[in-house]
């Protein structure tokens, strides 16, 4: 990694007729450049584009579901006939059957979590930004990185085959609870659930390759002077996230393999003795435990929710420090908190299982740890709020999203507390309240952080800014609509509406059958549908802006358009293969904004003399 060698980089970008010594270079044809690339930035972009497509698809699935539950028994306009043509029987007359509704629900959850949000927030942003921020030329294992993306892609494709297998795609929730997941399509060994499990094994492989790579990169490839407490908070967040993925996913892989055995070889890992389905006893040996599945699943499941949110904290922290023009308040406590969350998130999982009858002592234990983990989360959130205090805030588009993240995540986190107490959870469990809770954390929470990140790093990746006006339309529209979609769910949940009804609750609240419940909650379904459709409309400016700006956005005039301090902005724009023109050396912490006596209101990490 000699400086003389890297200084020839800019030419490498445009056909390199010169370098005869560079043995690792051959003509980069399409395949090498875009499909089999080992460059962390290309892989980051591959992840981003694939995951954004999955995000969009997952959203469409949900729009169909929302339409169907507010108009039970009616054909879905426009897409209904298309669905019928593609999926046949299950969507006959353009209406979703209850089974199809379940498939869409399960696939929405799985796609959003495993194919959209985690790959975006961890793999896409992590791949693109982490090596840049620590001053590395690439990830520690570039080819492993490529393999990780390929596994991810194959996992996604495997999932989609599920729609065309007998019985349709997996339909037992994103949690795949056994025995339902096994008996739902017992007649066919190769059903949607099987495809889901096989895909899951591929995705877990991908995540294993990725997370080990991230950790090794951060530990081994930090630039000179980049000590642990000089790492940007984003890197810390990704680092802890990588550990969660590395250690929490394998038990789910174990569970997935066992469920695969149940589905394909008719073992009984999760099937209890004497299980009766449809009036006759299931022809299996029995002796298994449905609770075992839940334990293994949530052992991943809970750390997974922090996988969704920790990198989001990281993005928000970067954007806030940059746009308040002052150091993050309490950087060190934030770092310690994120580490504490990492540890604690492994011992709270059974708060998802209060209603299973696992025992009151166990419930009490997990209730306690759940309360404990909210402390470091609150510390991080508070530190970010205080960071705003007294700053001269620039309300750029990324900053709008980052600032909105704070109260939105706050609502998500606070509504988690009643779920964490087992007394109140017994009432709220499996109701729309839970849906409201975690969507507040993930949708206006993590996704806002993602949008902030896209608007923030877009100029680094493309050399052009995204349009500010369209960005603001996107922001305000999304903020209002997100709240109108998810806030009513708390009300529905309080009124006892179950989260799993394909008719949206008509059977409980409808005029024929009244259980003393308030039919008014059904009207909320219509409002949610309208808001969701509007939310869709407000994503169009983003999609347009994104593609339009790649070619037509305003060109950046400097490599550091936001006047930021971290090393990702010390590279050429866009960064070439190998990233830095000369080996970066780090002299200071990540957030030296408005340092008294410095020549500018920001002092980059690789600047030796603040007055220089």
């Amino acid at each position: 990694m000699s400086a003389t060698h890297t200084s020839t980089l800019p030419q490498h970008g445009q056909g390199h007729s010169h370098s005869h010594d560079a043995h690792d270079h051959h003509e980069p044809n399409f395949w090498h450049k875009y499909v089999f690339s080992t460059d962390h930035k290309v892989i980051g972009v591959q992840y981003a584009m694939s995951a954004l497509s999955f995000l969009f698809f997952g959203f469409l699935l949900m729009l169909c579901m929302r339409y169907q539950i507010s108009h039970p028994g009616e054909a879905i306009p426009i897409v209904g006939s298309l669905m019928e043509r593609v999926l046949g029987e299950a969507a006959s007359g353009g209406k979703m059957s209850a089974d199809l509704y379940n498939s869409f629900g399960a696939m929405h959850g799985n796609i959003m979590v495993f194919l959209a949000i985690v790959p975006l927030v961890f793999a896409a942003f992590g791949n693109y930004v982490v090596p840049l921020q620590i001053g590395a030329i690439d990830m520690a294992f570039p080819r492993v990185n490529m393999a990780s993306y390929h596994c991810y892609w194959m996992g996604g494709v495997t999932w989609f085959t599920g729609f065309f297998l007998p019985g349709g795609a997996a339909k037992s929730g994103w949690t795949s609870y056994s025995p339902l997941a096994t008996v739902a399509e017992f007649g066919h060994s190769f059903n949607g659930q099987t495809a889901l499990l096989v895909g899951l094994v591929l995705l877990i492989t991908s995540s294993l390759l990725g997370s080990a790579n991230f950790i090794a990169t951060v530990v081994q490839l930090r630039a000179h002077g980049m000590s642990w407490m000089r790492l940007p908070f984003f890197v810390w967040a990704q680092f802890v996230t990588a550990f969660l993925l590395l250690l929490a996913f394998p038990p789910l892989e174990a569970a997935g393999i066992l469920q695969l055995m149940d589905n394909v070889f008719h073992t009984s890992f999760f099937l209890p003795t004497g299980l009766v389905v449809g009036g006759s006893q299931l022809p299996v040996s029995g002796g298994g435990s449905p609770l075992l599945w839940q334990h293994l699943f949530w052992f991943l499941g809970h750390p997974e929710v922090y996988v969704l949110v920790l990198p989001a904290f990281g993005i928000v922290a970067e954007v806030i420090a940059n746009n308040t023009r002052k150091p993050l308040w309490g950087y060190k406590s934030m770092v310690y908190s994120v580490i504490a969350i990492g540890f604690l998130s492994f011992i709270v999982w059974a708060h998802h299982m209060y209603l299973t009858g696992m025992g009151t002592k166990i419930s009490t234990f997990f209730q306690t740890t759940t309360m404990m983990i909210s402390i470091p989360s609150v510390i991080i959130l508070t530190a970010l709020f205080i960071s705003l205090w007294g700053g001269s805030i620039r309300f750029t588009v990324p900053m709008l999203f980052a600032v909105a993240f704070l109260p939105m995540f706050g609502i998500g986190g606070l509504t988690g507390l009643p779920l964490g107490f087992n007394a109140s959870d017994i009432y709220l469990h499996d109701s729309y309240y839970v849906i409201g809770h975690f969507h507040y954390v993930v949708a206006p929470g993590t996704m806002f952080a993602l949008f902030a990140g896209v608007y923030f790093w877009f100029p680094k990746a493309t050399g052009r800014m995204m349009n500010e006006f369209l960005g603001k339309v996107h922001f305000w529209g999304s903020l209002v609509c997100m709240n109108m979609v998810f806030a009513p769910m708390f009300v529905q949940g309080f009124k006892g509406m179950s989260r799993r009804m394909s008719d949206g609750g008509a059977i409980y609240f409808g005029k024929d059958v009244a259980y003393g419940a308030d039919p008014g909650v059904l009207k909320l379904n219509n409002m949610i549908l309208a808001s969701a459709l509007l939310l869709f409309v407000f994503q169009l400016p983003f999609i347009f802006n994104f593609f339009w700006s790649i070619w037509n956005g305003r060109k950046v005039t400097s490599d550091n358009p936001w006047d930021a301090t971290t090393l990702d902005w010390a590279t050429p724009t866009p960064p070439p293969h190998g990233n830095f023109l000369k080996e970066p050396i780090v002299y200071r912490g990540p957030y030296e904004y408005s340092v008294p006596g410095a020549s500018r209101d920001f002092t980059p990490q690789d600047q030796k003399d603040p007055k220089g």
Partner: protein, 284 residues
């Protein structure tokens, strides 16, 4: 432009990249097998009395072949030693010795797999039998004078398949001698093999020792098969290092030696899993 620390350790961490990478990978593998072992514990603790009628125990016991298992353990441990010797030979600059030890290692790995598949075959041809009158046995099935075998999967029967696929109405069954601690349902005092002639409609339940037969077999086959896949994968990689991959020795000896060390670490892990697995499924 090359990624640093691929051969020399980074001074402040004391590790080269691949070594950290393999440790992280192994951490994840520990969680994978940890999950499976926890599943084993939970299933066993929850197992209900009498689910395994042939020996009237909650959990089948003593059905695995301990001498063979012990021998296989020894085979794997040997390979763990030779893989270290292979690495040490490289450190001492003796490539020929390296290759010899690597070949022994891979040979041990393949022997392990061979022996394991023999054991699998033994299980797939071993049956659990329950009669309508409540008697229960384990033993071997003879249909039309043949022992249904594993290699011909169409001839591993459960009761329904037996009735559907063969036109026989009676079978022979060689019952195992009763184990002293087994407290079996079988006739008291039967200490040697017993031939039973049975009509198929006397039989309440018949199935080979397949994963579907009992959660014990389910977990036994699942964990050992997953372990077997690790052995196979490891053997392929080590064989690659011994032959085609050994080209690197000429150009980057240090990096090559590191690769062998990393491969060796993985191999030790595979060995270690077995060392837990053997007592848990064979002895306990």
């Amino acid at each position: 432009m090359e990624i640093p620390y691929t051969d020399k350790p980074r001074p402040d961490t004391g590790l080269y990249n691949a070594k950290l990478g393999i440790w992280l990978f192994l951490a994840s593998e520990i969680m994978l097998f940890g999950g499976l072992f926890s599943a084993y514990i939970l299933l066993r603790v929850n197992a209900a009395e009498g689910v395994w009628p042939a020996v009237k125990l909650a959990w089948p016991h003593g059905l695995l072949n301990i001498p063979i298992g012990t021998f296989n353990t020894a085979v794997l441990i040997t390979s763990s030693v030779t893989v270290v010797l292979a690495w040490a030979s490289l450190k001492m600059n003796n490539f020929a010795r390296f290759r010899m030890f690597m070949v022994i290692t891979v040979f041990c790995a393949l022997s392990f797999l061979g022996i394991k598949s023999y054991e699998y075959n033994e299980k797939f041809t071993h049956y659990e039998l329950r009669l309508n009158d409540g008697k229960a046995y384990t033993g071997h099935l003879i249909v039309n004078g043949e022992h249904p075998g594993f290699w011909d999967f169409s001839k591993v029967y459960n009761l329904e398949q037996l009735k559907a696929k063969t036109n026989v109405t009676s079978i022979k069954f060689t019952a195992d001698p009763e184990k002293a601690e087994g407290h079996g349902h079988g006739e008291a005092g039967a200490h040697e093999h017993k031939e039973l002639d049975l009509k198929t409609d006397q039989i309440a339940h018949l199935d080979a020792f397949l994963p579907r037969n009992h959660t014990f077999f389910a977990i036994y086959f699942t964990i050992t098969a997953l372990h077997g896949l690790h052995v196979l994968g490891g053997a392929l990689v080590l064989a690659y290092f011994a032959f085609p991959g050994a080209k690197l020795w000429k150009t980057h000896p240090e990096q090559f030696t590191n690769r062998i060390e990393v491969g060796g670490l993985f191999w030790h892990f595979v060995d270690l899993v077995w060392i837990f697995l053997f007592p848990v499924v064979y002895l306990l």
